[in-house]
Symmetry: D2
């Protein structure tokens, strides 16, 4: 079950980096949802290599084919939606050295130890190419969330190495996609781009943080014990390649506050400040926020005056925006010589070849959105099963 | 399925804070494991309220009864192990105010919105009392891991608010349990205790960070895609009450390094430094570490010279110690007046009553150990299913 | 996961025959359902040994205790409902011989081969006593089905050895429970009772068939592929001790018909004959049937003029009554000497002792109802998740 | 999760009858298994329409493409194995009438009631074409079972309408495939063929029974409670299109025996008669049977002198051959006018068009083998997880 995710909205991905193709089966999507090939392709294009100078130059058009589950008229049938993207530009020759040597901080050694065999070409199953299926499935989940519940999921690059934005408005996707680095703050984005380009020239790589915000989730999604909404979100994004940390709401910085400072006071009928977090970078405090949490769905008019909870309390959404952050390490493949061992467990060195990302962050944005959407679609259906609507 | 966790080593907890009792069913534990009531009780005693002045004074003896799955001779039968702890000191009167008001940053409001009904007495299902079942199950998982694979799981309090230890040796449980705050560093522990006692007098609360280390995990546990070992660990600990963040290995600090700094070089046959992380607090670098990763299990003699990966690469263990950190927010129940709303969604105030923890950290230590052990036992069995040993 | 059943309405049973007790955790029951201890106890009393001279004389009062999940006011909370029945009259001395010998056609040998260890006292986990938890959970599922969807599940003994009833009306539970053999046909019931009593005197046992009918299921429950409604029903009842066969609708007899005879013609707005099956025993043909399938729920007024489909077509309910049959073999424990082997795999003989059922059928009736109800409750929630109501 | 099956050896099928294609993802197959495209294709060819005059004349070459999970050298990688078969000869025009009318005893009406929408072309997801994915996956499961455990699964047509064979030897697949009807008894096969051809001319259809035998399963596979081996087998085959009944071992006929007749006596070290069942048709009694149950695997030399248990006791295999039977109804599509209703729920008639099977039995044989193999592969891995081998 290692390649499946979700309980009711359930996805199963397949495919190796240099095999015939990669894809996904989405099982459990309600029937009657209108979704076009273009809407799915659009998300894949945001994930695709070669889309800018900041990312891998592997040339994959990543054209998705829908094999089942969607009618000729473009509506989901309620049956499994299978999608396939063929691999095109698989230059296995670049990976010849990897056949016998383990790349440091990659999955080469661990795959070898787990399975005894491995598809060494391009990282095989551990390649970030596997996320094609996630992003395609996430596009459907996002559409479902938007159409039925009015939920919007948006992520952006909050920091690259030590360059960070303190963006506090709702970040529109159009602003985010304006720069190839996917940071809505133009001035900071320019500095991030310069940093990544400099690092690329050195053959080195950098990491950073992706922030994700969700609005429109009604109060009541999630579960009180193991399947807490934040727990499933944590699993979802920590299953992305290169992720090293997860925070919900105040996160680690919240440990520096006292309870009297951290608690989110509840108020009725007053426009909320929306993402005032413990960390300055998520702070807002603006009362003219366009967000109207709770009022639409629950009809309660209740909100919290701060949002250190990140929209989730006791594992269940409270109607406030959900805010989370994901740390991504610097990409492991560097164009520099490194110490490693070979398959005979003897010391040797290795130097990266091939077409790799100097920074995974820009392409991680649609991946985070996809994973968060998959979790929310699943919990939406679970809540519907429990309460009938 | 919200109250079940795990695929092959599967636990299901039940129970409300002020109901008849709380407990757990453990399904999938292999037969023939020797485990005594005392071993399980011992872990529960570490989680129990009233064990020191630093934690809640609720008087629960928390005596566990084994209902099934263990033979009179003290061996697991391979059948479900059901355990029950009766609730004793449930003073629901303390919670009378909660009947009609939602406590800020608690699960009261979200439970109400999710279910329409709720057991308001003591937080019901959302009480930390639910973790009794987790800790009892975790005791069995730990024993299994130790007996079959020689795996050791140990957690300790790394920081309380801004007081942090830079402990870098393997922390023995005997050292950790020497102080009620469960920090192995005696000098720092004393300062933590003073802080917590001061905060308690103010009616306030504090949070902090628990670190967890695991040694003895062979290379090859985990899965390459959604059920990455770090993803399942993240979900496990993020499902604990009050947790707000998770890091594996270098975590968020790893985003400040370049790839050339962050990559864990691989070497054969040289004693490793064991938990050199990006954050100073996890740094070690000592070559005379008592840990001998990989050599025992895989017999490869391979190690990494740093451990920014935290013992996991591409979702699969690499034989190095697993290192993770969990952020816990300050406890939400404070003895101070706070703004909130009542069940008619009208503004009001509330002030905590009852017996609560000024700091959840000391009791979170056995909870983290339990959840980490549950994940590892599950993946151990999954790997055995796949490879036959 | 061997002791869990269901996806959304999920039950986990635990307990050995001669351990501390047996029980169940029900996870996923919607909140707000009124259910009293008495309603659950009533079903357990129908399953209980000692209730008549036809069944085992083991003296178990089988008093159920609710440990969690139901409020003091008798409403489900949406949280796991844990229930416990203590074992009382466990006379392990009767089983001393079983300690070293395998009873033929029991699970003794196979349990030994599977686990290496076994609780030989009273059959341990393989005892029919395990079904206590199923029946308790089934009582909740039945209540839920009745309250929300108006579904009724009823089973009865259709045959004991070669004595069979051709009952064709809707069998009311009051009629069924009038005789200890649970056959609604009084004349046939008398003959069944005489047969069972005669067999008991010989120290022998008999089997038979339980029929189960369900009305009120709306069209649209079930799934089109692996989780077909009949597939889940088959698994459910074939997981009961001593079951050897399953039929839906026309069953094996349906293989004797041609398609033109077997197909269920569809008609609109005409009162249906309800359970006209290929087998005479399920035939009805009466147009004044009290059943009004489809009209209430789907509002379509569509019915089929025969019901060889047994209420399910392509894995999905069609609104007609669901009809199924389960074969139960004669009880394996007989008071006669039989060839067997001991734990050293040497030939020996064994003769049953203890208090056993000469015929499992009367007690199987509530077990079948329970399992069928668990499947239907699960699919009801799954359909609600998919379609929002 | 309606399109997934299995816990550890897990398959997910996708595809509509007249969509782009049908296929499957197999997740959890251990790495290192040699399996060629031809081995998989061979099984698909046995399922394929058009293979003889007895089955549907739809012209599908059913060429399978492996998209992932198998290395260029033909070894499984331990990653998901995705397979795709393109649809070729989809003559939707034949189904134009079905667009607005529900075919009796088909899934048309129930699909409509469940989803609101449906792909009416060729039955969409409910078409038997969906089983392409099952058979492809089953080919891998069979290879795994054979290579690691020496398990053999074989099925054959035991009866067509009232023409039945009393075949009692081990039926070799070569004998079974000698006739297009897949009955190993040549004389009976000839009569079956004549019957089917006669029925086809009338535009009618017939059903029958498939028997399945498994040898080589060691004692100890299966689970004692819900996931009993016979329960999972029942679900597996009852999820096949057109199946109406299931029997394990003595089945319904076993209800006619007394316990003293039905119990399978155990003996040590004596060559067993292998499938002596309650039904004459499965009876053997030959002591020179080539089967040597238990001796190879468990090394116990224990067998039973009869096999009414069908190789499973208390849900767990006992080392004897597993014997089961599946009833298939006559195909619903007939070339005769039938009463039905249209999508406005008004009475009308319909007459089958297109290319259909007059009898599903010959093609059901590889489907039953596939489903039985999937169950056994899953339980084999589960036992390995539990016991380490």
């Amino acid at each position: 079950m290692s390649s499946s995710f979700g309980t009711l909205f359930r996805v199963t991905t397949y495919g190796e980096s240099h095999g015939a193709g990669v894809g996904v089966v989405v099982d459990g999507c309600p029937p009657g949802l209108e979704i076009s090939l273009e809407e799915i392709q659009q998300e894949l294009d945001r994930r695709r290599p070669g889309q800018s100078g900041l990312v891998s130059q592997r040339k994959e058009s990543d054209r998705v084919e829908i094999l089942s589950g969607i009618s000729p008229e473009g509506k989901t049938l309620g049956t499994p939606i299978a999608m396939l993207v063929r691999n095109e530009d698989a230059r296995s020759v670049d990976y010849e050295e990897m056949r016998h040597k383990f790349r440091p901080s990659h999955a080469d050694f661990t795959t070898h130890m787990k399975y005894g065999v491995r598809d060494w070409r391009g990282g095989g199953r551990s390649s970030a190419r596997e996320t094609v299926g996630r992003v395609a499935a996430g596009a459907i989940a996002q559409k479902l969330l938007r159409e039925i519940w009015g939920v919007e999921v948006v992520a952006y690059v909050q920091s690259v190495q030590d360059i960070a934005t303190d963006w506090s408005d709702w970040p529109d996707r159009s602003e985010i996609d304006k720069t190839p680095v996917r940071c809505p703050d133009p001035e900071v984005a320019a500095r991030m781009i310069a940093l990544i380009e400099g690092v690329r020239k050195q053959g080195d790589t950098v990491g950073g943080v992706v922030a994700c915000l969700v609005r429109g989730v009604p109060a009541g999604w999630g579960e009180p014990v193991f399947d807490k909404l934040e727990a499933d979100l944590a699993k979802a994004v920590m299953s992305l390649p290169a992720s090293k940390g997860f925070e919900i709401g105040s996160g680690f910085a919240g440990t520096l506050l006292k309870g009297s400072e951290h608690n989110d006071a509840m108020r009725s009928s007053i426009p909320p400040s929306f993402v005032r977090g413990a960390r300055g970078e998520l702070e807002s405090g603006v009362d003219d926020s366009p967000l109207t949490p709770l009022t639409s769905e629950g009809g309660t008019g209740v909100h919290t005056t701060t949002n250190n909870s990140g929209g989730i309390q006791g594992g269940i959404s409270n109607g406030m925006p959900i805010t989370l952050r994901v740390a991504f390490k610097p990409v492991s493949t560097i164009m520099m010589e490194q110490d490693t061992v070979d398959e005979n467990y003897e010391n040797t060195t290795i130097k990266g070849k091939g077409r790799h990302d100097p920074c995974v962050l820009p392409r991680a944005v649609p991946m985070v959105e996809a994973m968060v959407s998959l979790v929310l679609a699943d919990h939406a259906l679970r809540q519907r099963a429990l309460m009938g609507s």
